[in-house]
Subunit: 211 residues, 2 copies
Amino acid sequence: MDQDIIKKIPHKTIERLSQYRRALLICLSQGKTHIFSHEVAEIQHITAVQVRRDLMLIGYSGNLRRGYNIKDLIALIGTIIDSQDGQRVAVFGMGNFGRAISAYFEGRRERLSIVAGFDVNPQKIGTSIAGVPVYHIDRACEIISKEKIKIGIITVPGNQAVETAKIMVDCGIKGILNYSPSPVKVPEDVFLEEYDMITSLEKVAFYVKEH
Amino acid sequence: MDQDIIKKIPHKTIERLSQYRRALLICLSQGKTHIFSHEVAEIQHITAVQVRRDLMLIGYSGNLRRGYNIKDLIALIGTIIDSQDGQRVAVFGMGNFGRAISAYFEGRRERLSIVAGFDVNPQKIGTSIAGVPVYHIDRACEIISKEKIKIGIITVPGNQAVETAKIMVDCGIKGILNYSPSPVKVPEDVFLEEYDMITSLEKVAFYVKEH
DNA sequence: TTTGTCCTGTGAATTGAATAACAAAAACTA
DNA sequence: TAGTTTTTGTTATTCAATTCACAGGACAAA
Ligand SMILES: NC(=O)c1ccc[n+]([C@@H]2O[C@H](COP(=O)([O-])OP(=O)(O)OC[C@H]3O[C@@H](n4cnc5c(N)ncnc54)[C@H](O)[C@@H]3O)[C@@H](O)[C@H]2O)c1
Ligand SMILES: NC(=O)c1ccc[n+]([C@@H]2O[C@H](COP(=O)([O-])OP(=O)(O)OC[C@H]3O[C@@H](n4cnc5c(N)ncnc54)[C@H](O)[C@@H]3O)[C@@H](O)[C@H]2O)c1
């Protein structure tokens, strides 16, 4: 696919492509070969137009009578969002949340594997949590370069997040997923995604209370 | 505050108010009494105009020379996003993630407390995980009504999410935070917020790979 | 007093994303 | 063959959120 086109795909479309792919994989495993936009839409609880527009943006054409070829579509989405030889990920802060994430991703996605965890707690250093080896944060640069890690997940306490992000950037991490409640700042060439669970829960609480 | 105005506050503003409040509480604990929009903006890594606009929407006026009164602002945000007598929350699926969440919220926010967990694993029923009592999902309606629970967090495996959401709605839950990768559907009067970690991680991976 | 600086508050313009609307293709129907 | 149905692909429109641009207040210094 053309580089310029890829740059212009909306963030939200990228997110939905990831979701379409997982839904399609389930359909494929159920023996389906083709699917209509309105069927995808129903699974994702969005509109069929939205689905068609997303597929239009990545340049995929469906069959007018049978819909989209599931296998082809999965493959195309793969060429867009996956990297050639997979991405390697590290978790910073192997506490309750870091452990849950590590356990969850263990052997789930071949192209996205958690290969290292960093912490400061001496009791955890040198152990293996959910199959992920835990190193001291001081060895971050060494391990990141050795293991060719490009992506890092922040699950340290909020007051440590800014400092941890700095270390990550200095060690060459190019994408950060920050789950601490403290916003961090990164240079232009590092992609940052932040998600704060407290905010989400407070938001739900707000819309639940009767006004 | 006027009901009509509250209804018109953008979703994104509600999210930021939650974050402003936490930042302000930290400032307050450091002895500050007033703060400028650009200072708030710097903490959150957004623009000062955004901050001023958000505060404008909730009808808060700052002092032209000293900025915003931190204490007053915290109180005002509280009247908007908090409920009168706090919200009670239940976690559905007390596995790795459910446990991490329960441990995390334990005693953190007085107005938002996790008071019950539901599971199907007989080994977990009747125990207490991170201070949260675990019940069988069959007792959901009974416990939800007894404990006056209005909010539920979904942390069951993806293939159980749709069924679990149905139970939640039937038992009178009015706000759902779905952390499973499977989208769920709810009636109009139930507020739904979904977050899929895999999507986020794949998104980061996409923007990290050089195009 | 006057001038300059540093804020806030807000209407107008812009951007980004979702939705509506519809042409055209394909296959079936009568 | 002519019409009906179903679905894709795309342009135009609407809606939501952010940013721009600037008026106007408060104070300090000259
Ligand atoms: N547990 C959850 O469900 C949950 C939910 C929302 C947000 N979070 C956020 O995730 C983060 C972690 O939460 P948790 O519940 O796992 O806490 P936790 O205390 O269980 O884990 C934190 C871990 O980080 C390690 N750590 C501390 N300082 C460090 C540093 N400078 N470098 C590397 N490691 C360091 C600690 O040793 C510990 O192992 C927090 O920021 C929290 O706000 C967690
Ligand atoms: N662990 C993570 O960090 C993580 C990250 C992203 C998403 N998730 C999602 O969160 C969910 C849970 O993940 P996990 O890692 O905690 O898995 P887990 O297997 O550790 O926990 C699932 C729990 O749900 C219970 N359960 C199963 N069916 C149930 C039902 N019908 N009703 C009530 N409880 C039921 C199980 O007994 C188990 O305790 C999954 O949907 C997963 O995709 C988890």
